[in-house]
């Protein structure tokens, strides 16, 4: 997709109240007005109003988030928004539509290209701030996932075979309580080395859930509450959702694809490697390759 010639006359953000989306279909640029609600969408990273976790639980979760991704010269799990991400997930069904599946097609992080492929100053409306309604089956599944068999009428479909499902909410509550008990005081009062002992003794299902949630918070779209200011993406040198700009551009005037000089697809990166593999990574990979019976170049 591209802007029509001349559309870049001033820096602008297309809003829902104006024309919200420009789409190129078969070479023709068409302007489409969203037929959806007129109210401005809520700010994505704002604190969810319904809360599930207590202040102490939130502080404890922040400690664990920083254990999974510790702060250094770049933010850690907590500063990236892991607590807000988890709280938003645990309370997602208290919103209508539930805050589980963000809409598309574009965020407002990348510009619409001009007809020659260069970036314009025009950005699409951020549709990630809206959320999609769930189907009856998705809603039932998420109720089971978040609240567990106990809060679903009739229980889960396979409670008899697999045992009742422990919902994410209750698992977080129980896991944080266990961590508090192991620590003997609020987690926030532990010294850095002491978190290690607590982490190793956590129930494995909670440990696995926290790890996955902190990772998703750090490296997922910011509209879910984590990855604050896209700092998680910047830290690992990825661009996130790159449309409508993309990494390539088909120029209809020339009939050829163009690549971005800064982020090429088919050629070597010109910029120096921002984070080369370090000695520990190399040791780890050599170990893995040995275990798998693979090969290492001399």
């Amino acid at each position: 997709m591209a802007l029509p010639a001349g559309a870049d006359s001033q820096k602008s953000q297309l809003t829902r109240r104006q024309f919200v989306r420009l789409t190129v279909v078969g070479g023709a640029t068409l302007v489409w007005t969203s037929g959806c609600q007129d109210a401005p969408p809520p700010e994505p990273a704002m604190m969810p109003v319904p809360r599930f976790l207590t202040d102490e639980e939130r502080q404890g979760l922040a400690v664990l988030a920083d254990y999974v991704l510790p702060p250094d010269d770049q933010p850690g799990g907590a500063a990236l928004g892991a607590v807000e991400y988890v709280e938003a997930l645990l309370t997602a069904l208290e919103y209508d539509p539930p805050r589980l599946l963000a809409d598309g097609p574009f965020s407002d992080r990348n510009p619409i290209p001009l007809p020659d492929g260069s970036p314009s100053n025009v950005y699409p409306e951020n549709s990630f701030r809206r959320f999609l309604p769930l189907t009856r089956e998705q809603l039932l599944s998420w109720r089971l996932q978040l609240y567990g068999s106990a809060d679903v009428p009739g229980g889960g479909p396979n409670d008899g075979l697999l045992g009742p499902t422990l919902g994410f909410r209750e698992l977080c509550r129980q896991g944080l309580a266990q961590a508090r008990q192991l620590a003997g005081r609020p987690l926030a009062k532990l010294e850095a080395g002491e978190v290690d002992d607590v982490w190793r003794k956590l129930r494995p299902d909670f440990l696995g859930l926290v790890t996955e949630l902190v990772i998703a918070a750090a490296f997922g779209a910011p509209e879910y509450g984590g990855n604050r200011d896209s700092a998680g993406w910047k830290m690992i040198h990825v661009e996130g959702d790159v449309l409508p700009q993309g990494y390539s551009f088909y120029n209809e005037q020339t009939g050829r694809y163009q690549e971005r000089p800064d982020l090429p697809i088919s050629t070597k990166d010109l910029r120096p490697d921002p984070d080369p593999m370090d000695a520990e990574t190399i040791l780890h990979l050599e170990f893995v390759v040995r275990v798998l019976g693979g090969r290492t170049s001399p």
Partner: protein, 566 residues
């Protein structure tokens, strides 16, 4: 979100009822509707397209995006409660070894193709003749297809042109005969793929631009791909992928002869009392209530696992199962992945999932020096959440500073390239789909149980080609290369067999035209019919075969006559 009923809502009598709107069901709908037949399509999942039945040229729009969280939260693969499955390697394992979402395909309008990276190779002529070309192999059940490559060729061409495939004629040394060139040239190649291509060339192998159903220029009202990098596992926000919804179902809907009900899950087929015919299907509606739908013909177009499950749910022992073959001969392709890590950043995550294929390891039937393998796909395309979870859960990288360092250094995503051999697995009677005796989905319906164990046939190919894949990786300049350990199931989501078609009702479930031998108005049309799975990604062949099944309903003697001009 779109209305759950779209298309011609005035229709109330149907020539055909299609269960499933993926590549198979959409292909059938397109052909029947363009030939004036009235068609009802029932899709279990939601419709994420807006205006799929709206003729305006800027439609359809959709709700997809480069959002990894959304993809992981049940937008793509149905959640466990919706599509629970169990698994065991053989009956000796007891009722089951585990419960999970094994080999599940997306349930949504457009089916798996909506979120697929849409690799679109054709099968080759010998793939249709393995029953004759291979000697008898103990415990394997190879069979010829009842149709030849030549008979399917016009349907391949039709699908390639209507859905839009990019590729380069003559670049595959094993390219099957084609009546027309690819409709579009290849798009931008991956840098990492070019490195592998050069390494392979030094060793005498040929990588060639991957035929994929993704626009490399504006095509039939849809734009060119912009290489957003979020391809496999993501719906295409700009509809540059020719997935089933935009590639064929839209044609059916715009004809005025099609009505599509999404979020409408068929629970069972209802047989006419005392007759070998289907009278109706019972479905659960978006609000949870149930109703019957009727038509003259009924077409199973879910996928090989769900089609078999549907037949088994509909009568004790399965409908139309005098052969006792319903659910059997399930093939999934075996998968062998060689992963290479380069010192430099090769940034495969900036493009379509796979831009190069290699067919040098497809092998030759009955040649011990060249065992039958399959296609090799070269790809990268990692996304950061799955990358981090893989470091932690598979590479045993501890959380903390090491996990963060691995992510910053982009070891797997930015320096890694995979060469994946998807190779032919032997059909086996004991590899099958049946109903788990105790597992239930959210609607209270029994879930599918997969019984699947490997055969020495495909293990021989893995042993022969694994070291050669590593040779290529090292020749390409990888610092490290290893074959990844295989999972309990191959996880290919290439689903075939279970309702195999053939001429003899004793050795097949369906006839060469797709109709059940035993039931007058019931058809299968997709991967379930495949007697063998070949060694190639199946989606194009699924769509081409379904197109032919539909065309044969219009002109049984010469189905190609039912093809509209392309």
């Amino acid at each position: 979100m779109s209305d759950t009923i779209i298309g011609n809502k005035a229709l109330d009598r149907f020539d055909a009822l299609i269960i499933g709107s993926g590549p198979a069901g959409s292909a059938v709908a397109s052909i029947l509707c363009q030939n004036g037949r009235k068609v009802l399509v029932l899709e279990a999942g939601p419709n994420y397209f807006e205006g799929l039945d709206d003729p305006r040229p800027d439609r359809p729009l959709n709700h997809f995006s480069g959002d990894e969280i959304k993809s992981r939260r049940g937008l793509v693969d149905p959640m466990l409660a919706i599509c629970p499955r169990s698994y065991r390697t053989s009956e000796a394992d007891g009722e089951r070894l585990g419960v999970g979402t094994y080999e599940v395909l997306p349930q949504t309008v457009g089916g798996g193709s909506t979120f697929s990276d849409l690799k679109f190779p054709r099968f080759t002529p010998t793939d249709f003749e393995l029953g004759s070309r291979l000697p008898a192999i103990p415990d394997a059940n190879f069979a010829d297809w009842p149709i030849s490559y030549a008979e399917l060729e016009p349907f391949y061409t039709y699908v390639e042109y209507t859905s839009g495939v990019q590729g380069l004629d003559g670049s595959d040394p094993n390219q099957p005969p084609r009546s027309k060139p690819y409709p579009m040239p290849p798009g931008v190649p991956q840098y990492g793929g070019l490195l592998i291509a050069e390494g392979a060339r030094k060793l005498g192998y040929t990588l060639f631009p991957a035929p994929t159903c993704i626009n490399s220029r504006p095509y039939r009202g849809r734009p060119a791909c912009q290489d957003c990098g979020m391809c496999g596992g993501f719906g295409c926000p700009i509809n540059a992928k020719g997935s089933a919804a935009v590639g064929s179902l839209r044609t059916a809907l715009l004809s005025g002869n099609c009505q599509l009900h999404s979020q409408t899950r068929v629970l069972r087929l209802v047989q006419k009392s005392g007759q070998a015919e289907i009278a109706a299907v019972e479905a659960v509606l978006p609000d949870g209530s149930r109703r019957m739908f009727t038509a003259d013909r009924y077409i199973l177009a879910c996928n090989a696992i769900e089609d078999a499950r549907m037949v088994l749910l509909s009568a004790p022992g399965g409908l139309g199962n005098s052969s006792d073959l319903v659910g059997r001969n399930l093939t999934l392709h075996a998968k062998l992945v060689a992963f290479g890590i380069f010192n430099e950043r090769v940034h495969c995550h900036r493009s379509r999932s796979s831009t190069f294929f290699m067919t040098d390891f497809r092998g030759v039937p009955n040649d011990p020096l060249h065992p039958l393998g399959g296609i090799v796909e070269t790809s990268g395309n990692g996304t950061p959440i799955s990358e981090a979870i893989q470091y932690w859960s598979q590479l045993r990288v501890p959380v903390g500073p090491r996990l963060k360092a691995m992510m910053r250094q982009g070891v797997g995503r930015d320096r890694g390239i995979a060469m994946s051999l998807f190779h032919e697995d032997a059909p086996q009677l004991k590899n099958r789909v049946d109903l788990d005796p105790r597992l239930r989905d959210i609607n209270g319906t029994p879930g599918a149980r997969l019984t699947y164990g490997p055969h020495p046939f495909e293990q021989a190919a893995a042993a022969a080609y694994g070291p050669k894949l590593l040779d290529i990786m090292m020749a390409a300049g990888a610092k490290y290369a290893a074959l990844l350990p295989e999972g309990e199931l191959p996880g290919t989501v290439h689903l075939h067999g279970t309702l195999r078609f053939g001429k003899d009702p004793k050795t097949s479930v369906c006839r060469p035209d797709g109709r059940f031998h035993d039931i007058g108005n019931l058809y299968a049309c997709g991967g379930a019919l495949f007697p063998t799975g070949s060694g190639y990604s199946p989606t194009l062949t699924i769509a081409a075969l379904a197109t032919r099944v539909a065309a044969a309903m219009i002109f049984p003697g010469s189905p190609e006559r039912a093809l509209p001009a392309i």
